[in-house]
Amino acid sequence: MADLSVKIHKLELKNPVMTASGTFGNGVEFDDFIDVNALGGILLKGTTLHHREGNDYPRMAETALGMLNAVGLQNKGVDYFCKHIYPIVSKYSTNVIVNVNGSTIEEYIELTQRINELEHIAAIELNISCPNVKEGGMAFGTSCPMAEQVTREVRKVYDKTLIVKLSPNVTNIAEIAKAVEAQGADSVSLVNTFLGMAVNAETRKPVLSTITGGLSGPAIKPIALRMVWQVAQAVKVPVIGMGGIASATDAIEFMLAGASAVQIGTANFNDPQCTIKIIKGIEEYLDRHKLLSASDIIGKLQM
């Protein structure tokens, strides 16, 4: 049986399959469906310094093999997180990673410092790519200087594994990846959602309360895969790939393109057990191809 373990900087993942922030709650919502500890790691939902109500309903629109969301980082803030959520997620033996969001550099720093104190949080994922908030969010991820600055400042106050999550809504994602790598990111994860829109022709109104939202799901896979491939060639740090992954085959494609690990997002909604099936499928694939370890496919696309 093939060795599925992979490394993302200091993180040891028992397999390359993680969950994507905002699609897996705090993990506990999945306890009824799967053994969360069987995953390589879990990304908790986006956290901010202060409580956020998020955007108004409707926050969701179904599209061609995809969905738009405009949740807007609804969460109870870091105090609540430390008091009520952290104790629960600390029980997991898998890697638990917090997705960190700010509207200003200062917020990113303060939030990171708070998370830094939490022993069982193995890493943070710096979200500089949320398309659903008015301030900060994607603005940091679509400008090289801003991406650099926020990474540099957060790096100063954080010594565990720092993953920076990139926005796909850019002309040159490899450039942003190189910029954050140069500022000390230990890994980059991509892609966050694509800015999209849905219109109701009958009511002649936008479907989402926020007009635009973030597109995820199988529809975006070809673009996400291209971006992961471009970024993997541009940086030396490990790349975490995501965007429309719903099967082991999808995950393997991302790994061949250069991803050391993958995150599963929207697919969790359709099948709360898909992550476990994907792990099994990768294992079967490696065995069938007589490969000894997951690293035998990472970046092994043959040209």
Binding site: F24, D32, E53, Y57, M60, M67, N69, V71, F269
Partner: protein, 258 residues
């Protein structure tokens, strides 16, 4: 019971009228303690336009046969495909989801109000309420006579009152136009599920009558079990997820302009 994702066998699919289908499902695990108002989330296969699961209220439960039923009204391709499902096929279902209606107390008099396919959760509610010695009245509203379904089935559990928008059956008008919703009836509780405007009208009446009232919302859902945060409704305590903190809400907790 614990949330599950499993393949349920279709025991029966009965066409009730032009656009309503009663689908009876049998799990391999034992059904226990399904609250009236809870729902299931179904994967629709072979529909390119149906990406996400589709939520349906648990219409009725038969613990003896270990089956439950859902009532499906065809409105788009997802429900259309479901309506074509045949006996012995399986459906991939996540269930049971959400919180049900709060349980009435023995001796109370309650009114279940269903509009359109909003009558779906009321069968299980009517059955369970009658079982514990509650006086059940059922008020069903529909567009026209041919849209009224399951009237006989409901009448097993209490008196049925009907309205139609066009006057072809029962009282001519909306459910709130029915005498049963007037002050003289003195219900302890209203339980309501239906189109938004109807639920608002019922809630308004309930406030006026100072009757306890719960409504079951049908917000658009992506996950159905509390992780996507897409299905929220505004409450006194901020945004709450309809799928896990509802779908049933007490109208006093909602920020409705009524």
């Amino acid at each position: 019971m614990k949330k599950q994702v499993c393949d349920l066998t279709v025991i029966n699919n009965t066409r009730l009228n032009h656009d309503n289908y009663l689908i009876e499902l049998k799990p391999s695990i034992k059904l226990e303690n399904i609250q009236p108002g809870q729902f299931v989330n179904i994967q629709v296969k072979d529909s390119p336009t149906t990406f996400l699961r589709r939520p349906f209220s648990i219409h009725d439960v038969n613990y003896y046969n270990n089956t439950f039923a859902i009532l499906v009204k065809t409105v788009g391709d997802g429900t259309f495909k479901l309506s074509k499902i045949e006996k012995n096929e399986t459906l991939d279902v996540v269930f049971p989801l959400g919180n049900g209606f709060s349980e009435p107390s023995k001796g109370e008099k309650i009114l279940l109000i269903g509009g359109g396919v909003g009558i779906a959760p009321m069968m299980h509610m009517a059955r369970e309420s009658k079982n514990i010695g509650v006086e059940v009245h059922i008020l069903l509203g529909a567009r026209s006579e041919s849209d009224h379904i399951l009237v006989n089935e409901f009448s097993q559990f209490g008196q049925v009152h009907l309205t139609t928008d066009d006057g072809t059956l029962g009282i001519h008008g909306f459910v709130t136009d029915h005498d049963i919703m007037s002050s003289k009836w003195k219900f302890d509780r209203f339980y309501c599920c239906g189109p938004d405007p109807m639920m608002h009208a019922v809630a308004k009446r309930a406030k006026a009558l100072k009757t306890e009232c719960e409504v079951s919302l049908e917000n658009m859902m992506a996950c159905g079990f509390g992780v996507c945060l897409c299905c929220v409704t505004k409450t006194n305590e901020g945004n709450k997820c309809v799928c896990t903190e509802g779908p049933v809400f007490n109208i006093n907790d909602l920020e409705w302009q009524i």
